[in-house]
């Protein structure tokens, strides 16, 4: 079965009414038999038929054997971090989503977990990173927002030799473009709020794995802590995923054109997009993924210029998050990554003027016109600045 087909055709619930859409089991509990056993479901925190449909489909498209849907991407990352005990270590890539950094630096450490940050996109740093061996390696690739690429095959090989687990946050790519389990990762994590759902109307997270023992532990943790996805959100997510190949094909093609357009514009100093030929991680990325996705970051050289630019955008909504059908723009330093302290951002050379675009499914001409107008406005600011 081809990829476009498997996103639409999959195992439905065995429902006596044979509906074309998955039934929404908006229920907290399930009636048990007299003995209280022999039932697939008892309580929605532990399991729900609607959620099961979307979880099975998520497992399938990621090439895994089990998937767990959570109430948010952060709930999924939290559950993955719970595989690490006090005294053990998490190794994370340097460029991380602000919320993940906050979890690792302010929550995990309080539970006695050590956290080490390494530039995993640097092959030498990666090779040295496993002495001592961490319990879990957590990476994004390409990262958000700088799009640095970690070699997933190499990382998994090193981790396996060291006895470490590898978890990959695949939100930027979606399983349509990248399947980390097939590169050797143990866990794939998603903020399903992004491309998977794609309509900016559901907050959800996912963990997929091929390992039955890990699946058991994650399932136990999810049930014990009560962070599973609500049935209706699961229903909307399943519906949203059906058009993912169409959405992402279009979004990616728009993004590639906009990235080239940005690169040629005098106001833009630097474009971060793994689809550009000069991107340092491009070769590695192409070995492990089918495309560059639809998120672009770029620098204008001055915060005032970037503020002017995003203020002048009309089609791009100024908002956090990414991956929806509608194009959006943000200033990560002030929005999605504001939870990273100023001094840490400074140390990591995180530019204040960085603009992140999430490219939607609108017509490319309209997007380019909108961006062009805003860039011209920013250019006018440049003149005032100099």
């Amino acid at each position: 079965m081809k990829r476009a087909t498997e996103w639409v055709q999959y195992q439905q619930l065995n429902d006596p009414y044979a509906p074309s859409a998955t039934p929404l089991y908006q229920t907290a509990t399930f009636r048990l038999n007299d003995k209280g056993d022999d039932s697939d479901y008892d309580y929605t925190r532990s399991g729900n038929p609607t959620r099961r449909v979307v979880e099975d489909q998520l497992a399938r498209v990621e090439g895994g054997s089990s998937a767990f849907a959570f109430s948010s991407g952060m709930a999924a990352i939290t559950a993955a971090c719970a595989l690490v005990s006090a005294g053990e270590e998490i190794l994370a890539c340097v460029d991380l989503y602000g919320g993940t950094y906050r979890l690792l630096s302010q929550v995990a450490t309080r539970h006695g977990i050590r956290v080490r940050y390494v530039d995993t996109s640097d092959p030498d740093a990666l090779a040295r990173a496993f002495d001592p061996a961490p319990k879990l390696v957590l990476v994004e690739t390409p990262t958000n927002p700088f799009q640095s690429v970690t070699d997933l095959f190499r990382l998994s090989e090193l981790a396996r030799a060291a006895g470490s687990l590898v978890a990959v946050d695949n939100s930027m790519m979606s399983p349509y473009l990248q399947r980390p389990l097939s590169c050797g990762a143990d866990l794939v994590i998603h903020s399903a709020t992004k491309f998977l759902n794609g309509h900016s109307d559901v907050t959800a997270g996912v963990i997929v794995t091929n390992d039955t023992e890990l699946a058991e532990r994650i399932g136990f943790y999810q049930n014990a802590t009560g962070t599973a996805l609500a049935p209706f959100e699961g229903w909307l997510l399943e519906r949203g995923m059906k058009t993912l190949p169409l959405r992402l094909d279009k979004q990616q093609s728009n993004a590639g054109l906009l990235a080239r357009y940005l690169r040629s514009h005098p106001v833009v100093e630097r474009v971060h997009y793994v689809g550009l030929p000069e991107h340092p991680g491009r070769d590695v990325h192409e070995r492990q993924a089918h495309g560059a996705g639809a998120v672009i970051a770029f620098e204008t050289g001055a915060l005032e210029r970037s503020l002017e630019l995003i203020g002048a955008l009309e089609l791009f909504a100024v908002t956090v998050s990414f991956g929806g059908v509608r194009s959006t723009a943000s200033l990560p330093a002030r929005m999605s990554h504001a939870s990273i302290p100023d001094d840490v951002r400074l140390r990591r050379h995180f530019p204040e003027d960085l603009v992140r675009l999430s490219v939607g499914i609108e017509h490319i001409d309209d997007l380019r016109d909108d961006l062009g107008r805003a860039l011209d406005r920013a250019a006018a600011t440049t003149e005032t600045l100099t």
């Binding site: 476009a4 639409v8 074309s20 309509h199 109307d201 279009k250």
Partner: protein
Amino acid sequence: MSTLEAFGTSTRAVHDGERRHQTSDAITTPIHQTATYWFKNSEELRAYQEGRLDRDEYGRYGNPTVRAVERKLASMEHADEALLFASGMCATTTTFLALLPRGSHLILTRDGYRRTRQFCDEFLSKMDVSVSVIDPANIEAFEAAITDDTSIFFTELPTNPYLRVLDLPAAARIARKRGIKVIVDSTFATPALHRALDDGADLVVHSATKYLGGHNDLLAGAAVGGRKLIESVRNALGILGGIIAPNDAYLLLRGMKTLDLRMERHNQNALSVARFLEGHDKIRRVFYPGLASHPDYEVAGRLLRGFGGVVTFEVEGDYEATVRFVDRCRIPYIAPSLGGVESLIEMPVLMSYWDQTPEARRRFGITDSLVRFSCGIEDTVDLINDLEQALRAV
């Protein structure tokens, strides 16, 4: 909320937190799951009654979520206004009831959704509305059917199941001269392929259950057109009550966002499937307006941006052979309806026309080996491979 401080917990549980006048800057449209709307005081109600204040009163007369979808659809159809209904049949019947004067004459096409004709035969006749049924996509037949009482010409474009495409600009010119309103059921085309109002239609209706919703998970209808006509239909809807529920309106809104992408894939899949079937020796005939063999190939090429996702064909064999073929398909579901992301297949003889006599079926061209295939957004090669293996059963 300060005004509620004096009230007990149960009152707060009902009211608190919900009384706000400012909407948030949420990126998506809120679902206003409400039956009614409250007035701050009697003066506000009075201002509303006297037309000094434009606002909502009761769910049957309007809902902000529903209006968001209506605005979107009107914009996509290049129209002043749009109006949503509980189903496609509700859109058609409410529109007819609103716009057909007593004793008037209606012209319909022979090919077309059977329930529309049934409504005209069984219900409109009670209003002394007479009905003429003409060949589809036939300008001469249309002109010949016109009487002094003709008030509406209704046609699907393309028609169901033979996908006939009327030369709408030509028909609209004739209709305008005779003071006849042209209503086009654009369910199969959608505004992604055809804007019937730009081609002279006075009103467009949709079963939004199909491509507009696109996910086989909601029922909805729509009427789109000029302000005056839509206002008449809106008034009728307020009385007859076939409104769409707010949550379905939201799902429709969400579905419409990917309409263009879906239609592009539907078109591409259907054209490939039609070409494949036309070259297959187990297929007697294929009806698809994107094929040169279709009687309206030229008109369709002129009017439509793509030919839609439905392919109709006759299997080279009898009823039993056709059933064997349909049952052996693995990808499409055997189900009524069309236009969703999942492919659906049906034999019209078994679906819409099962209760009809063989003579009646013959009159509408419904043969025992006729199959209607609604292509989903699956991979083209998968669909063709599936049809190929299933045709071995013929």
